[in-house]
Symmetry: C2
Subunit: 352 residues, 2 copies
């Protein structure tokens, strides 16, 4: 097992944990190394569930913050071991999100008496189906391990605080028709043609850009799948349009559904799945303090992230981590080394 | 092998040949019975290619008509043996089209000196892929067997002469987009939304109803398939719409294609397949004489049928047979017995 030096250089630590492959489902080696390394520190209580490792201080502070990151990566594409090229560290996991994990590990080891009690959460299966998600499993199995007043998810955010996240909902719209032979099409009713009215709605839709707790979100309403037709000589009697709606965190799932039912009034609409967004939570005192220290205006998080799981527990949460989130999952992902050091600096200052 | 009595009651003959199953690909038993029965008549020259049987008189008349029908049926659905219920004969093949075949077999056996020389064509594989079609195979292998001045295809037409047929063309329209994550949809361009413009064209299209040689056709332009989208969180970069165009026989395939390129100007359009229509050919003297004898105004044939293969050989062709064409391929198909006798009567009168 690779021994991790948590108190040394955070950049070297980033490199070391990147070079322990941990594609989703194969996190055990890294989780073992993380657990072993954390157990060396007497100020930490270390817990484990599957390949999720939780470590926490118990100094009796009145407040507790959670710092979380996932250990897994998307599949390796000839991009390990990592390569350092000047100020850039390149390779699988560098930006998504082992630099963030390294920062948290370093904090855990070095801050024996933080200003807020801290719970560090390192979890598995973030890059795959939601039902496998390690943080979701902790929510189900040990919600008390995740208790806190404020949470920071170390996902890449270019060093900016990205508040909350947008919700997402998929609906299936079913447009009926009447089948007929294509040679006598007027005896039927073409469901694909009728689905044109659904596309009319989508083309005319102007998404909201609401400001929530000072952050401007940007919604979206898009067809992500359309299907219709059974044979080259048959007027189709069915066309389905799958629509994805991204909604700002001022609306919950029920409000988003009501909105879609209004937008698509007259159509048969079925909700396929939905995940709530999360409000930024930037009005929480610990959060305000943190944002002030970062010294840059916070930004809205548009994609859905695991901060929503904290929101579900009633814990305001933000994304804050080194690197450009748009590089996540790309074969050429990289992280700027100064951003790793800067993230560590900000968090250390905040918690000292 | 069932022995066929060609000169007895045409209704009994219909029942007998219906009860010899002959789903496409399995026509041999019926083709053998037909060939054997026809060879008993000295006034007929009998030819065979695969499971197609051709019989012809050679009396030296100046004119020759072709009477054709297919031996195969769509699959049996617990609807054999046939059941006679009053004036109705019900079961697989009754309307499509063994009643028409029985009429032709009876004519072949009984008319030793017809007023026009007659070529009777009984063929296989009509109900399946066009490349397997037995009449198409005869056109390729023995076009001289099909020579004639006028052809009658005994497909059900409710005893009306249905002239010519409409052509059919399928085109694929490809609408591009730009992929993006659904959380940031404005960074992409939704191909499904853009395909709405194709559906706009289809919804606004007013099909022609041109009169060709006195018959009013009715064209059609319909989406028969639409596909787009690859995942629930991705803005689709491709949507395809398959469109079927039915065109009247005053336009050939090239004219139909030019029309579609004009209608869908600005879209990427590819012709997937096409089959020409056939002009009614009712101005041909033998055809006129036949129509007068039927005593009802002729009607246009809207669907594509094998008359187009005769048209391709330069032989005007019509559909004329007992039963309702809309019952073809239904599990409850049936033929009214009086229509079988009436079709035989008209053809016998015409050819005597």
């Amino acid at each position: 097992m690779t021994r991790l030096d948590l108190t040394g250089d955070v950049v070297e630590l980033t490199r070391t944990i990147c070079d322990i492959p941990s594609v989703s489902g194969d996190e055990k080696a890294l989780a073992d190394a993380v657990e072993t390394a954390l157990r060396a520190y007497g100020h930490l209580e270390v817990l484990r569930d599957g390949d999720a490792v939780v470590a926490r201080t118990n100094t009796g502070r009145g407040t507790r913050v959670v710092i979380a990151g996932h250990l897994d990566t998307v599949p390796i594409k000839d991009n390990l071991p990592v390569v350092v090229d000047g100020d850039i560290m390149r390779g699988r996991g560098t930006v998504d999100m082992k630099a963030g994990v390294a920062v948290a590990l370093h904090l855990a080891a070095t801050l024996s008496e933080p200003r807020h009690d801290v719970t560090y959460v390192f979890y598995d299966h973030e890059e795959v189906a939601a039902r496998l998600n390690g943080l979701g499993r902790l929510v189900r199995n040990h919600p008390e391990w995740l208790a806190g007043d404020f949470a920071i998810l170390g996902e890449p955010s270019d060093g900016t605080v990205e508040g909350g996240c947008q919700g997402t909902m998929r609906v299936k719209i079913t447009v009926p028709g009447v089948a007929a032979h294509a040679a006598r099409s007027w005896k039927g009713s073409n469901a694909i043609h009728s689905a044109g009215a659904v596309l009319d709605v989508l083309r005319a839709y102007v998404p909201r850009r609401p400001v929530v707790e000072g952050l401007e979100y940007h919604e979206g309403l898009n067809a992500v799948k359309i299907e219709g037709g059974i044979a080259g000589n048959v007027i189709p009697d069915l066309c389905t349009v799958h629509v994805n709606h991204r909604f700002a965190p001022d609306r919950d799932v029920a409000a988003a559904e009501a909105h879609l039912r209004e937008v698509f009034a007259g159509f048969e609409l079925e909700v396929v799945d939905a995940a709530p967004g999360a409000r930024p939570g930037l009005e929480q005192p610990a959060a305000k303090e943190f944002v002030d220290l970062v010294g840059r205006p916070p930004a809205p998080k548009l994609g859905w992230t695991d901060v929503s799981r904290f929101a579900g527990l009633g814990i305001p949460a933000v994304n804050f981590g080194p690197g450009d989130p748009l590089l996540a999952h790309t074969d050429g992902e990289f992280v700027p080394i100064p951003e790793i050091r800067q993230a560590l600096h900000v968090l250390t200052t905040w918690l000292s």
